[in-house]
């Protein structure tokens, strides 16, 4: 008998992970959401400059269930959630797996501020369901879940934590570097942080802000310096959506990536979609944060290297 001891040793974390996922389901069912399963293999992913779909027999493994979920919204489903696997090529690190578990939920007739409230309620419910108290320990730092959580605009974060403005960072192509080096490590310390109102070019599927068209109604949730979720008020203007897809796809092709066909059924049905908001939350990272794991490898049964 040759027991795979590395696998056996993961038991306590895998048990706790299963509890968290069951509690997520319970939360959304109680909130009146319908759980759906959409295909994991799709013909046309949403083109995004820095996300690579993995080809699968002429189609692609989904990078997010977003387009199918929005087609359901357009068909009149009002509150939807899904827990599924997603794939993103060439992403492997302490917080990245090329195949990972995503939670997405969508609300018709709501905007991104409603999703922030959902996040607060969800994590509070999960902590209670899993027997954790409201004070998480995340890699030696305390994070209190008491509501309301910190809300910080991207512009405020740049002013507070970096020596650059958002515009200067974008112009010199240093936005992502400043974000990872100077800003992200400071977010979600003491309490969770919503970083919101991203520059408009950083939200390919998000609606522009009503009062300030230079930013998109998009936010990210951070806990203990770890990015957990990305949500936004959905763009429902099909013409504008097509223009942004073309722009992103042009960038993808010019940098030598595999071309995607146009997501024409999604674009055709988008005009029927009501005002809505949707969010994607990384379940593996949520488990990391709740169980104080230092790396994503600790909270999954198998990493690609284990196969």
């Amino acid at each position: 008998m040759n027991v795979n001891w590395t696998l056996a040793r993961r038991r306590p974390l895998l048990v706790a992970r299963a509890q968290i996922i069951q509690a997520i389901r319970q939360f959304f069912i109680q909130e009146g959401f319908l759980e759906v399963e959409t295909p994991l293999r799709i013909p046309a992913p949403a083109p995004e400059a820095h996300i690579d779909a993995i080809p699968s027999d002429g189609w692609f493994l989904n990078t997010s269930p977003e387009l199918c979920m929005k087609r359901l919204l357009a068909a009149g489903y009002e509150r939807l959630f899904q827990i599924c696997h997603c794939w993103r090529g060439n992403e492997r690190g302490r917080k990245h797996l090329p195949e990972f578990t995503m939670l997405e939920w969508y609300r018709a007739d709501a905007d991104y501020t409603r999703l922030m409230t959902d996040c607060e309620n969800l994590l509070t419910a999960l902590a209670a369901a899993c027997g954790l108290n409201d004070d998480l320990q995340v890699q030696g730092r305390e994070v209190r879940l008491a509501k309301p959580w910190q809300r910080l605009t991207v512009a405020e974060a740049f002013a507070r934590f970096s020596d650059s403005s958002v515009d200067a960072a974008l112009a010199s192509d240093r936005f992502d570097e400043i974000m990872t080096d100077a800003i992200e490590p400071m977010l979600g310390i003491g309490q969770p942080t919503f970083l919101y109102n991203y520059p408009s070019e950083r939200g390919a599927l998000a609606r522009l802000h009503g009062a300030d068209q230079s930013v998109a109604e998009r936010f990210e949730l951070y806990i203990g310096g770890i990015e957990l979720a990305n949500g936004f008020s959905e763009l429902t203007d099909a013409i504008e959506q097509r223009r942004r897809f073309e722009q992103e796809e042009q960038y993808r092709r010019s940098s030598g990536r595999i071309p995607y066909p146009e997501a024409n059924k999604f674009l055709a049905e988008l005009p029927a979609m009501p005002p809505a908001a949707g969010i994607a939350l990384g379940v593996d990272r949520l488990v990391m944060v709740m169980l104080d794991a230092a790396e994503i490898d600790a909270v999954v049964a198998f990493t690609p290297e284990d196969l």
Binding site: W5, H50, I51, D176, M179, G203
Partner: protein
């Protein structure tokens, strides 16, 4: 030619003409942003440590090193002595250059020694080595959970976590790539 996708701990590349080994690596990517590959590298000649961040599309030349089959002979003061299996020539390497590999070096262990201009500057280990446990606490009977672990010291002085059923004197297999217990050697 390597690309950023090849970057990982242990990769050896050429930078400004010198061989460097990647000693720490992380992939980061802020939400919807571009991938950044953060590395910490050690100059394999003079030990200088560098921090470098790379982006998608960048490429690297492999380090031009010669690989020789050798075996570990013994440690002398703060130097480790290896012998070339073909020429029987001996090479000395400093403790710094040997690095974490010293945790697995037992007499006669077959290794690949890396030469740069005929100077031994690094060692590549087999992926798995067998080492004997010299010290560990006894197994608390009745514990069958299979998920607990305890510390154990092996003959090189290295300390690692092992399953509770491992006893003193047993031979265990250690994965040298992550330093973790893999399985035990039967009989």
């Amino acid at each position: 030619m390597y690309t950023v996708a090849d970057l990982k701990k242990g990769l050896k590349i050429t930078l400004d003409g010198d061989p460097y080994i990647v000693i720490a690596f992380d992939f980061t990517k802020p939400g919807k942003g571009q991938a950044l590959y953060r590395t910490k590298m050690r100059n394999m000649i003079n030990g200088t440590i560098l921090d470098r961040t790379y982006r998608s599309g960048e490429t690297f030349e492999p380090a031009s090193l010669e690989d020789r089959k050798m075996q570990f002979l013994y440690k002398e003061d703060d130097h480790y002595v290896f012998m070339d299996n073909q020429t029987f020539e001996q090479y000395r390497m400093s403790e710094d250059a040997v690095g974490d590999s010293k945790n697995y070096l037992i007499d006669n262990l077959p290794v690949d020694v890396l030469l740069f201009r005929d100077k031994a500057i690094g060692v590549d280990l087999p992926n798995f080595v067998n080492l004997r446990v010299t010290e560990t606490s006894p197994w608390a009977k009745g514990d069958t959970s299979g998920s607990d672990s305890k510390p154990a010291t092996v003959e090189t002085g290295y300390v690692l976590r092992v399953p509770p059923f491992i006893e003193e004197g047993e031979l265990i297999v250690i994965d040298t790539r992550n330093g973790e217990y893999s399985t035990r050697v039967k009989g």
